[in-house]
């Protein structure tokens, strides 16, 4: 049955891709059919995921049918858990795409539809891979899909650069995984993951480092986060959601999977993950907060979330390194909840914003003023995503962030000083991040979504029925998952069982509707109860106000907002979104490397009166990009130029190189003992 579901899903997607490649994007039915296939396949995958999570583990041996050696597919609860999420997100994003692609001109190339389906299929392959070959096959396919999707609109140099950054860092990720897998396979004499638990010693440590790097690149761990703010915005519309909300989860899946497979990680690695995770979160949210363009802001917020998830994962690693399964349980539970919150919220952010960005023809936050009044459903769902990522109650983001902080508070249970310092530093950075995150999303909602716009005609294209439904699938879980958090944890306990005992994870449920951070008598939270008390409190306050004012609050005299009685000014006269973020450029100037320059563009005579027109240029410097990527890029280009010299194009030179190589080879072979 499961195999049938899998084959059906892949089949539907393949058919969809064929339609797209054959018919092209010029007519709407073909576009809709492609994304409709995405929806159908994803629904099958979701069903497969639920069945797999709740069932027992099964292994499918495919033999060498993929042409990559002995291929193994493993359907266990962990894969099932991620498949469930991927299926749901796939359905929702496909539905959004069906609506979004309706107006002509939005989808202009064949690659979007096929690339999207390739991405879905690659994700499923990675999640189900039971051996290194299959895993890497899926992984490289995913990198290919990302490259295709992020270089669809090669309109200018920046977009071409975005595609290349995605590809290059994807290759770095693949290379790290390949070497790590080869080390493990070499020690265990097998490519099947299940055999790798026996590997010990320095090989294990080296493999751990390589795998963390490999998966870290995918999720955006510092210093490999550079491609996210380039690659995501370069993709089109809701496809970004598929990259940032859906596909990124395979990176987390890899981390989860190998925590269950491999032996204890080295302490230095754990501390590195904790500190790097904290820094990732802070750098991510700081840059998110000052971005003037919405897609880049959302992309940087992905970096931030990766950081928070990795800090929680670091707690689980610390538990694994010191042999404390409860700590693994709380760390992994917190990280998984955060993955869930991020997956839904990030998808709804990208999918929802696609509608108003395309409708308004701009992605500039200062130009997206008042979209909340014109694209009510998209913007409402978008705002729920913002609240979730801001970690505000009553969303699942609040629950997950609570668990992350509770996990970090278990630091006192450890005795290793390095680990304790690592957790403390990570915790402090996460707490700082939470504050900046609130500022960041208040800015988006307050100064763009909800700000009163100048009256403009209502645009024709909203989210449509499919889009509205897709957005609902993405947005409602941000509330719903919090309301039924105990049930979610019950499900997660099943899904995480291959990594850490489900019984331990399930200890997070103190009583049917009250949660605790796995350890007893530490602290409790009941998000479900919040859903009862908050409405009652709101109603009670409203009733009290109404009664105390004897109904006068309902009789309001509306006057224009108070503006200092001025006759008005030319140009914008409200706080801009950019201006609201400027305080961060000052306060966190050291992180941002912010600079401003006032250039006189008027005459020098008028400048002597301080009345010349000036132009203000502000910039922020990404430390990683400036101090790491640029030198490496410069070095690679230099090395390339050096290599060009030996390619003189003369035949005798090439013959000489071959001769030289032959001599060296013979020398090496004969020199072996």
């Amino acid at each position: 049955m499961n195999a049938a579901l899998l084959v059906a899903a892949l089949g539907v997607w393949a058919a969809g891709a064929c339609v797209d490649l054959a018919a092209g994007p010029s007519r709407f039915p073909a576009r809709a059919a492609t994304f409709g296939a995405g929806f159908a396949g994803a629904a099958l995958v979701a069903a497969l995921g639920v069945r797999t999570t709740l069932g027992s583990a099964r292994t499918l041996h495919l033999g060498s049918s993929l042409g990559t050696g002995e291929a193994i597919l493993r359907l266990d609860p962990l894969a099932g858990l991620f498949l469930t999420v991927a299926g749901m997100l796939g359905c929702a994003i496909s539905a959004c795409l069906v609506s979004w692609c309706r107006p002509d001109g939005r989808v202009t190339s064949r690659e979007t539809g096929a690339g999207f389906l390739l991405l879905l299929a690659a994700v499923v392959v990675v999640l189900l891979a039971g051996d290194a070959y299959t895993f890497l096959f899926g992984w490289e396919s995913l990198t290919g899909a990302f490259y295709v999707l992020s270089s669809v609109a090669r309109r200018n140099g920046a977009q071409v650069r975005a595609g290349w950054a995605t590809l290059v860092l994807g290759k770095v990720s693949g290379a790290a995984l390949l070497i790590g897998f080869l080390l493990l396979a070499g020690a265990a004499h097998s490519f099947a993951f299940t055999t790798w638990s026996t590997v010990q010693g320095s090989t294990l440590h080296a493999a751990w480092w390589l795998l963390i790097v490999g998966f870290g690149v995918k999720v955006g761990l510092l210093p490999f986060q550079g491609w996210l703010p380039l690659g995501y915005p370069a993709a089109q519309g809701p496809v970004r959601a598929a990259m940032a909300g859906l596909a990124v989860n395979v990176g987390f899946y890899g981390l989860w999977r190998f925590l269950g497979v491999l032996g204890r990680p080295p302490v230095t690695l754990v501390v590195t993950v904790l500190v790097a995770g904290g820094l990732t979160a802070l750098v991510g949210i700081t840059f998110a907060a000052v971005q003037p363009r919405l897609p880049r802001l959302v992309a940087y917020s992905s970096v931030e979330n990766a950081g928070i998830i990795l800090v929680a994962y670091g707690v689980a690693l610390a538990g694994s390194a010191t042999g404390r399964p409860r700590l693994v349980a709380i760390g992994l539970l917190a990280a998984t909840l955060q993955v869930l919150a991020h997956a839904f919220a990030k998808s709804v952010l990208f999918a929802g914003s696609a509608f108003f960005e395309s409708g308004e023809g701009t992605d500039h936050l200062d130009d997206l003023v008042g979209v909340g009044y014109r694209y009510r459903w998209s913007a409402a769902c978008f705002s729920l995503g913002c609240l979730t990522l801001g970690g505000l109650p009553p969303t699942i983001g609040f629950v997950s962030e609570w668990f992350v902080l509770e996990a970090l508070m278990q630091e006192y249970r450890l005795h290793d000083l390095a680990l304790r310092v690592g957790i403390t530093v990570g915790g402090a950075l996460v707490a700082l991040t939470a504050g900046v995150a609130a500022l960041c999303f208040i800015r988006v909602i307050g100064l763009s979504i909800l700000r009163r716009p100048a009256p403009r005609p209502r645009p024709a294209a909203g989210a449509g029925v499919w889009g509205a439904g897709g957005l609902a699938i993405l947005a409602l879980p941000t509330l719903g998952l919090a309301a039924v958090a105990p049930l979610v944890i019950r499900y997660l306990a099943d899904g995480l069982d291959p990594v850490v005992s489900g019984r331990l994870v399930d200890a997070a449920r103190k009583s049917p509707w009250v949660l605790q951070p796995v350890y007893r008598s530490f602290s409790i939270l009941s998000p479900s109860w919040m859903y009862v008390t908050l409405p009652i409190a709101v109603i009670a306050v409203a009733a009290a106000v109404l009664a105390a004012s004897r109904g006068r609050v309902l009789r309001m005299r509306r006057v224009p907002a108070w503006r200092s009685a001025s006759g008005g000014v030319s140009g914008p006269d409200h706080y801009t979104s950019f201006g609201y973020a400027n305080i961060l450029r000052h306060v966190l100037g050291n992180v941002l490397g912010s600079s401003r320059e006032v250039v006189v563009v008027g005459s020098s005579d008028s400048e002597r009166l301080h009345e010349a027109s000036v132009e203000v240029r502000t910039s922020v410097v990404e430390p990683v990009e400036t101090y790491l990527y640029r030198p490496i890029e410069a070095f690679v280009l230099w090395a390339g130029r050096q290599a060009q010299r030996i390619q003189s194009g003369r035949l005798d030179a090439y013959v000489a190189y071959m001769f030289l190589a032959l001599v060296v080879l013979i020398a090496v072979v004969t020199a072996r003992p």
């Binding site: 200092s564 001025s566 000014v569 201006g579 006032v598 005579d605 002597r608 009345e611 010349a612």
Partner: protein, 499 residues
């Protein structure tokens, strides 16, 4: 002692060479002090540039013929002249050719509107609130209109703060809301009524205005003011200075949330105003100074007033010292609103604003008048940091000196028996005179024209007219929260600037 009149040199010159001559004359130790139009019966305008020289004032005059009120702008080489040219452009339609930015200053009129000082003023003009163009552009730039009605009890002025959050790349001000046409109102008043209006040009510096006005008139009529009257004028002028500097301190302490300091300084200021009320009946020293002297003796025995004054002085200097050693206060002022000395010089800034940047003479010292030559007045030592703190230190030192001068003056008055308070005019006022005094905010200039004993034209030029033009330049590197300190440290009187 003798009353030293300001000598008025005068040179008539063709309008094409006017700008050049003014720039030439303002160089070196001289300082550009004003540009004043005067309407001629023919419909032409006589334009007078006044330059302060080490010993007095000299002026250059040019005639603009009717129907062609244009001349090459003075501001190109002399930033200090810019606001004058904007004002005469607003009110007379005079065209300073080549002025870099002829934005409206006191009346934002459209070209087709009649110019009030030329045309029929009964058709009451409505200043057009149409906005000035934004001066700054770039990512996220917007304009905060701050005023004319803003938090707190302030005079009406609108600051257009162009910002992208925190930083202030450009700041402009609109003060036309308050324009009252006050110099027009002087025309045809009697000299005795004129002093009442002078007291209302800048209500917080009534005494300084009354003295400056009367000194101009006394020059024209050749009146010698009795010494005792000069001492009374000095006492009132110095008390006014202390009150203004205290007000500036209060605004600083309010801005930095020093609640106790704020309350205590407010008590000192109120006591000082009450002392002034007991001396003359008015809390602002009004109705004291009249042409030819003062209106009468002090209403309270001078020695009694002196002991009260010394008590207030003790309290003020005690609290001021405590404030200047409160780190949370000093931190807000230090480095805020820095004005480099060359900028101050270029704009001809005066008073504590200029002295905080190590420049700026004190009229009481440079061109001593009234009872000052015999008072032993010592100018405050200059501070050259140029920030809000330096300006405040200048004010504190001036307050000490003013307390001393006023107390000495009261002692002199207590010892005087023979008293003559006012002398009649030697002749009917006729001609043009330029007079100046050191008002609390710096040099105050009056151009008084009289014709047959009545005022033909009176133009007060407040210290703030020069200092305000420098205000936008003080915001390099400062952010929105520094605004309150920079504004308070400038001590701007909007009524005086808007006219």
């Amino acid at each position: 002692m003798t009353i030293q009149g300001d000598r008025l040199g005068e040179e008539a010159i063709d309008r094409s060479r006017f700008a050049e001559a003014v720039a030439h004359l303002s160089a070196g130790p001289n300082r550009f002090a004003g540009l004043f139009p005067s309407l001629r019966a023919s419909g032409g305008v006589e334009l007078r540039a006044v330059v302060a020289t080490p010993g007095g004032y000299t002026s250059v005059v040019t005639e603009l013929p009717p129907g062609d009120l244009a001349y090459p702008s003075v501001s190109v080489g002399l930033p200090a002249a810019s606001w004058y040219e904007r004002e005469i452009h607003d009110r007379y339609g005079i065209q300073p050719k080549g002025h870099p930015r002829l934005d409206p200053l006191v009346l934002p009129l459209l070209p087709e509107d009649p110019h009030p000082a030329l045309g029929d003023w009964h058709s009451q003009v409505s200043p057009d609130p149409r906005a000035l163009d934004a001066h700054a552009s770039g990512e996220g730039l917007f304009t905060i209109p701050y005023g004319p009605v803003r938090s707190g009890v302030f005079e009406a002025v609108e600051y257009l703060v162009e910002t992208f959050g925190e930083d202030i790349p450009r700041l402009r001000s609109r003060m036309y809301h308050k324009h009252r046409g006050i110099d027009w109102r002087f025309e045809d008043l009697t000299p005795d009524d004129g002093v009442l209006l002078a007291e209302r040009v800048e209500g917080t510096a009534s005494v300084a205005h009354a003295i400056a006005y009367c000194r101009g008139l006394e020059q024209l009529t050749g009146t010698e003011v009795p010494y005792e009257a000069e001492v009374v004028r000095l006492v009132h002028a110095e008390l006014e200075r202390v009150a203004n500097h205290l007000d500036s301190m209060i605004r600083h302490s309010d801005g930095s949330y020093q609640a106790v300091a704020n309350a205590r300084l407010a008590v000192h200021k109120e006591r000082l105003l009450r002392l002034r009320a007991t001396l003359c009946g008015s809390r602002f020293g009004r109705n004291v100074v009249v042409p030819g002297g003062v209106s009468g003796p002090m209403r309270r025995p001078p020695d009694e007033a002196r002991s009260e004054l010394l008590r207030i002085a003790g309290g003020v200097s005690d609290d001021a010292r405590a404030m200047m050693s409160t780190p949370s206060f000093l931190d807000r002022l230090r480095g805020a609103g820095v004005l480099p000395a060359d900028l101050v010089a270029a704009h001809g800034a005066v008073g504590p604003v200029a002295r905080g940047s190590g420049l700026g003479e004190d009229v009481r010292h440079a061109r001593p008048y009234g009872a000052y030559p015999s008072s032993g007045f010592r100018p405050t030592p200059p501070h050259d940091q140029g920030d809000a703190l330096a300006r405040q230190q200048v004010r504190l030192a001036e307050m000490d000196e003013s307390f001393r001068l006023a107390a000495d003056g009261l002692a002199i008055l207590a010892g005087c028996n023979e008293r003559e308070w006012r002398r009649g005019p030697g002749a009917a006022a006729d001609g043009t005179a330029i007079s100046s005094v050191e008002s609390p905010q710096g040099e105050l200039l009056y151009v008084v024209e009289a014709d047959g004993g009545r005022l033909a034209r009176v133009k007060p030029r407040c210290a703030a007219f020069h200092n305000f033009a420098l205000f936008p330049a003080a915001f390099r590197g400062d952010i929105l929260t520094d605004f309150v300190f920079i504004e308070a440290s400038f001590g701007l009187s909007i009524a005086g600037v808007a006219g």
